[in-house]
Symmetry: C2
């Protein structure tokens, strides 16, 4: 499977710009035969925004319908973070539109990070899995991927690819450099981890977006400027897949 | 705290050579003011040895008394792996001798790796902690460190330094490159991970021994040849210590 990610600056609540960048990246990824493209956390409208509630979207809003159509046009699945409004509640969500434009998953972040997110969002209460090009896939968002129990839970359900919109900021460079490849290797799953670059308000994002193979291989990794990454997953070698899930001795 | 490790070739069941190398490394580490020196897994008599049972040692055997005396001579704690005989049973153990030569811990590996270890050894059934130069320390051995629940359990008990004799072989380079720094950062603990280099029987060790700080910093890392590493732990920055232990949402 060929996977892609777009690491960009925050669209800063310009939803038309955010959609146009997503369409351009989808066109490039689709032309190169990528199965799926992953964008950062809260790509609509941007992560670190006091005006976020004013830009929250329902699942069937016009910007999301526009991006579903773009996925269909370019025959490439699209995973992106967005601020989801559901009645009175907001969720830090990520949608996956399949290559036919259908909504394959709408995941709500379980592990909200820090007091700002806790003040804005209701946490999600479940993991979901879905079929993607013959593999079983799932979405996690940012802080979620740092918790081994969630990754293990997905691996136990047969997930082989985890798609992770994120907004990882300084000084937490260890997440992209070490935690993500380690989670991939320790649970035998490929991970696409898509971050922002640049500065937004009081945060400087670390960039370092990456595509990790199921043995912890760093197949592609960005610096701290805008980048489109496309990489092919290597075959899974059963002899190298960790047996951790079965081996854990409870003390 | 200043910590040291010695990455060497397997002593190949030459216990006198193993002790002499340990003494030389202790002398160097002690002269530089290191608090503790960590040697690889099963340093007595070597990791990948069909003749291992013939070289298993009781806790009060002459080679271990010799090394306790060396720790005292050089005023430097020593952590080393050894094949422990206790009645009819063998354990994959590691001892810590304090700077006064006293036995501070005798840890038995919990997570035995693969069918060879399972055939040879009885697994340990407990973690232990001990005081080391004002910090709370613990030993894990090789595969143990790849399991987040064990690292979390130690961090929950106040452990800030984990000393890890290991025998990590190709192709599992992700462990030293990613898993160890990620475990350090995710649980806010320093880790000394001491591996072999070179080849022993059908195994090629990966080397890559490292000292990781409590934010996942790689303070020193070896290649795949013999190396003595000494590094100072940086102060722990409370703002950077992960809150994961408290944050996990059970689904």
């Amino acid at each position: 499977m060929r996977l892609a990610l777009w690491q960009g600056h925050s669209p800063a609540a310009d939803l038309d710009l955010a959609c146009a960048q997503a369409e351009a990246a989808l066109a490039a990824a689709g032309a190169l035969g990528a199965t799926a493209l992953v964008l950062p956390e809260l790509w609509l409208p941007g992560y670190n925004r006091p005006d976020l509630p004013a830009h929250a979207l329902t699942r069937d809003s016009a910007p999301l319908r526009r991006l579903a159509a773009a996925a269909r046009t370019h025959r490439t699945a699209l995973i992106l973070g967005y601020a989801e409004r559901d009645g009175d509640r907001l969720f830090n969500s990520a949608a996956c539109f399949g290559p036919d434009g259908a909504l394959l998953a709408n995941y709500r972040k379980v592990q909200l990070y820090g007091p700002r997110e806790a003040a804005l969002f209701t946490p999600g209460d479940r993991l979901e899995t879905f079929a993607l090009n013959g593999e079983t896939a799932a979405i996690l968002i940012c802080y979620d991927i740092e918790f081994a129990p969630h990754v293990k839970s997905l691996a136990d359900r047969g997930v082989t690819v985890i798609l992770v919109p994120t907004a990882n900021m300084q000084p937490f460079t260890h997440v992209a450099r070490h935690t993500v490849p380690a989670m991939a290797a320790n649970h035998g799953v490929a991970i696409v981890y898509t971050n922002y670059c640049g500065t937004e308000g009081d945060l400087t994002y670390t960039g370092q977006s990456l595509i990790a193979g199921p043995h912890g291989e760093v197949l592609a990794q960005a610096g701290d400027t805008p980048a489109l990454l496309i990489a092919d997953l290597p075959p899974r070698d059963p002899a190298r897949i960790s047996t951790q899930a079965a081996d854990l001795r409870h003390l």
